[in-house]
Chain length 635, copies 2
């Protein structure tokens, strides 16, 4: 297998700024009881049901009417085209481990529908066509034309990479050529304008990488550099909603619409990777660090504010009223993926993995048919997943991320092979001109024991991520012999040697339950703790508790982790002790009452926590991630 020919999810193979190349998802197979059934469900349930919804909600008919093959009226939101493109991209990535005929058939039905709607000059947007043809480029701030174009480009690239199908690539290039003719410096007689929703930057750069056409990259650079000058004034939420208030290099924190902000960061990261722009990468690192220290939920979710789907102020992270769009978590993962390629810094792989399990995965119901758009960290039992949304950006975004997941797991650099994600399976990694097979055996994320068998002899450094949550030190052995290496949490440990086929590295990551507390300025969480184990955040769902959630305060000590095959399709649950106090009577008639005398410690009861990603899969019930800490019970 020639590794150089295998496509990456994000192709930084020729990027001057890339330090660690991702390994192609086509060279990686993910197995094991956690991920294999989920990826299968994505292919067999989520993607087909989504396609049926694209059809039944008129999204495909919008294309057909432009092509003259349907006389249905335009239906839905003005950016519904992007759902088709994201679905096509997802259906491509879902085939990295081999063709899926049912999906390919749907792709083959869909591409001609898209092709037929392209205008003679290359323009393609079903909302701004026909009776609205004269609105083309008229409201870039609000109407998402270039956003849709960017998703078209990403879909086209994915189909070309995975399926060798260049049909959509031709469509995308024709459209990109038109965009390149229209947009650019005013002195060149072009339209000096940007899109209100970042996305086309990523799309153009991938298109440049895929086609070798640097014009597309230059156009992406134009859109990036034109931003931050207030071109998008006059919107309802102000120009920082669009990240257009100040140039990227002058920003001190990410603000405004969260998905836009991280998509912007991804596009800038792509450009900086290709150009080896150290200053831009350093600024990205600053903004990323700032985000993680001030504006991110413990779930990895971002964008706390409902108004404007936006980042709030520092420490504005309400639990029940969290917005935390699933797409924003996905955008954060995409950003982490790029930063990891640029730096090899384990912090990015840590957050990528954490957000995968705790920020994105909750957005996907365990039946593969329902999705959260909004991901609160506490709920009164009224928030439920839906099979579709009027603005249905999240479902196909989840699907494309799941499809591309194998491409996030491994990396390679000069003389080194990197294991970013611990997932049962095997991978063929490029090394020099050849390749090395690694076989990973683990029950992660349920268990911290990982065995990696080297399938191919050779000299290289094997870099294994020691997640930031590891406390108490990891255990490492090679062929049964204990190895002492530097293994700080939040770094890669490195084992360099002449490896023999059959060598087995065993890594044991401690999976103690971690009780977390929040920054003192995150006032809502004062006196509260949240629990995690390994890479998984936990929550309490009301149906598992002996008493209503609001009567419980939990003890961080003495919590046991138990795998329960019958719960939620098989999960590790956490069992511990809580202090329970029934409220005094009178609350039916009052919202506020004079405080009762301090009741001291309550009754001792047991509590059970389940992984947060799995919540609301057994009907709707109150849920909480952050729980009051039972003080009096702690020794």
């Amino acid at each position: 297998m020639n590794q150089d020919k295998l496509p990456q999810v994000v192709d930084v193979s020729a990027s001057r700024g890339a330090r660690v190349q991702p390994v192609s998802p086509m060279a990686v197979s993910l197995a094991g009881r956690f991920w294999a059934p989920r990826l299968q469900r994505n292919r067999e349930v989520s993607l087909p049901t989504q396609h049926a919804l694209l059809e039944s909600t008129g999204r495909l008919d919008n294309f057909r009417r432009v092509a003259g093959t349907s006389d249905a009226p335009y239906t839905g939101l003005f950016f519904n085209d992007s759902d088709i493109y994201k679905w096509l991209e997802a259906a491509a990535w879902a085939q990295v481990s081999g063709p899926v005929p049912e999906l390919q058939a749907l792709i083959d039905q869909t591409i001609p529908v898209v092709e037929a709607a392209q205008q003679p000059d290359g323009y393609l947007n079903t909302y701004h066509s026909l009776e609205r043809a004269d609105t083309r480029w008229s409201n870039l701030r609000d109407l998402h034309e270039l956003y849709c174009a960017g998703h078209l480009m990403q879909a086209a690239v994915a189909l070309n990479r995975v399926c060798g199908d260049a049909r959509l690539l031709k469509v995308a290039c024709r459209f990109a050529d038109l965009i390149d003719e229209v947009f650019g410096p005013a002195e060149a007689g072009k339209l000096f304008m940007i899109d209100g929703h970042e996305e086309v930057e990523m799309g153009l750069i991938e298109l440049a990488r895929e086609t070798g056409e640097d014009r597309y990259r230059r156009l992406a650079r134009f859109f990036i550099e034109a931003r931050g000058r207030g071109l998008l004034h006059g919107g309802r939420f102000g120009i920082d909603y669009f990240q257009d208030e100040q140039p990227f290099m002058a920003m001190t924190s990410l603000a405004g619409h969260a998905v836009r902000a991280v998509y912007m960061a991804c596009g800038i990261a792509d450009l900086a990777l290709d150009e080896g722009d150290a200053a831009a990468l350093a600024q990205l690192e600053r903004l990323w660090t700032e985000m993680t220290r001030r504006r991110m939920y413990l779930s990895g979710g971002i964008g706390s504010r409902h108004e404007g789907e936006a980042f709030g102020k520092d420490f504005e992270l309400p639990n029940a009223r969290a917005y935390t769009e699933t797409c924003a978590a996905i955008g954060s993962m995409m950003w982490c993926h790029r930063m990891l390629a640029a730096t090899g810094d384990a912090r990015y792989a840590d957050l990528l993995e954490w957000t995968l399990y705790n920020g994105m995965l909750p957005g996907w119901g365990q039946d593969g048919r329902r999705y959260f758009y909004v991901n609160p960290l506490e709920d009164d039992g009224t928030h439920v997943r839906q099979s579709w949304y009027e603005c249905s950006c999240c479902p196909p975004n989840v699907a494309r991320t799941l499809g591309a997941l194998p491409g996030y797991a491994y990396g390679s650099s000069e003389g080194a092979l990197w294991v970013h994600l611990y997932i049962e399976g095997r991978a063929t990694l490029p090394l020099g001109g050849g390749s090395v097979e690694l076989i990973q055996r683990t029950d992660y994320p349920w268990d911290g024991a990982i065995a990696i068998e080297v399938g191919t002899p050779g000299r290289f450094a094997l870099k294994l991520r020691v997640p930031g949550w590891c406390r108490g030190g990891v255990a490492l052995s090679v062929n049964g012999e204990v190895v002492e290496v530097s293994a700080e949490p939040g770094s890669y440990l490195s084992l360099e040697r002449d490896w023999q086929a059959g060598d087995i590295v065993r890594l044991a990551l401690p999976m103690a339950v971690t009780p977390w507390q929040s920054h003192p300025q995150l006032h809502e969480n004062r006196g509260r703790i949240a629990l995690s184990r390994g890479p998984l955040l936990y929550c309490l769902e009301a149906q598992d508790q002996p008493r209503p959630l609001q009567e419980l305060a939990i003890d961080p000590a003495g919590i046991e982790a138990v795998f329960e095959a019958a719960t939620l399709g098989g999960v590790v649950v956490l069992r511990g002790q809580a202090s329970a106090r029934a409220p005094a009577p009178g609350w039916e008639q009052a919202l506020y009452l004079p405080a009762e005398p301090d009741p001291g410690a309550g009754e001792r009861v047991a509590f059970t926590a389940v992984p947060y990603f799995a919540w609301q899969n057994r009907g709707a019930a109150p849920m909480s991630v952050w729980m009051p800490r039972a003080h009096a019970m702690t020794p």
Copy 2:
């Protein structure tokens, strides 16, 4: 003085459903160190500075351009006319205790500007005139035409009542006549439509009361009865935003835009009062009770959600991200005022007073020049009052409420005189065909001792409100002799006798500090308490504490109340003990950290709380109403 001729703030003198008549604000003078300087400041600072802003922001020029006397372009929001009207209403009420020549001069400048903009057919709205004349009545859902008309009517009525100035009344009636021609049952060939923002209902009913023209009341009934049928579909927030999802009588709780919801309730209360509609009043009582038990802040503020300026779900009452518009608190007071007239139930007077001090008053800076639109119960030190807003509904709303305040203080019914609000001053109350003077001496709200001197002999029941917050029993004497009466908190005690001039009733309301706790389902406040004393809610501002707010947990016991003349213009502060714990190091680099071992009780320090209404008057600093309770310190 003929009491029958003196105007009420809301004229229910002929309302069949009115049980307790409000006493005219022109028969009441408010004095004392709390209210007298504030009412003076409203007259001398707030109203003149607001008028200057109406001028400088182009709101008056919008009228002049319609009249052809200005060629400035239309500026500002489409409902800016209403700010002029609310200011005119405020400037009328501000003269209930006597003419204020400076205000009268501004009124005399302003009325002709308004008059001149009225169209020949009676229409008056500066946004929907001239180049937008063809948009008249075209988007009732969003564009506030009838809302503005309602404020015109209220202003016209106030000017006629207080100043005997009928100029604007003529304008309002001409406009109301046009509206009556245009709107009504479809079968009558009229426009079957309602306004997206309730207000015209109140305006029309007051116009009917003032002019005796029942047509206006019937038109108000039409608008009330046409609501709840989904006429306002298609908006961004859904039809419950407009209270148009279901008929009023079918509602189980107030929802949607909070100001609209309570203005709707006020209009319905007005109609039900006039018509003696017991079913509507009972439904209003249910909705009011539901609001106070599920959707109201401890401040009395309502409308917790920024999106849609709306009521949230039950118990959705975030502290820092509270919306709690000042206008919504005012609307709640207006509703309470009407319900009190309908029932004589002390609960309404309780909430009216509580919201006056803790919901509305925080919206007004102590300099009389700055206003909060949004009233959080916790802040990181970034929320500051502004002298004006693009949507500047709150400043003139505060001013008209302050101006009308004397009209909220007393009531009368057959053989009974009611003291609703304890405020130093005097009042002349109607009794039979005559009147009785009451002289009230008190330092309320700082002190609970109230002396009421009867200035006129006569037989009547003197009804004194025992606020719901009174705990531990009140003390009552007449001419120095202790009187035992039923005096349940949240009721009126009643003293019926043949009163002599000079009789003195002394009432002592216990003003112990009350620590409050929240309903168990209001999760954010678990483990927290808030403090009040008398009718005043308190908060902690960072500048008064020895340690940052987030390090403090307060002890509900042993809190002392001390009047401090030098603080905030003279307020009672609360001084108590707190447990202080500095956070462990590491928070500069992290938003979440593994929980520290339980540190037990912290260092004992003193804390100081100030009245919530007075916060953010000494610069911007962190503030919190709800504070963690120091458990370990309590015996």
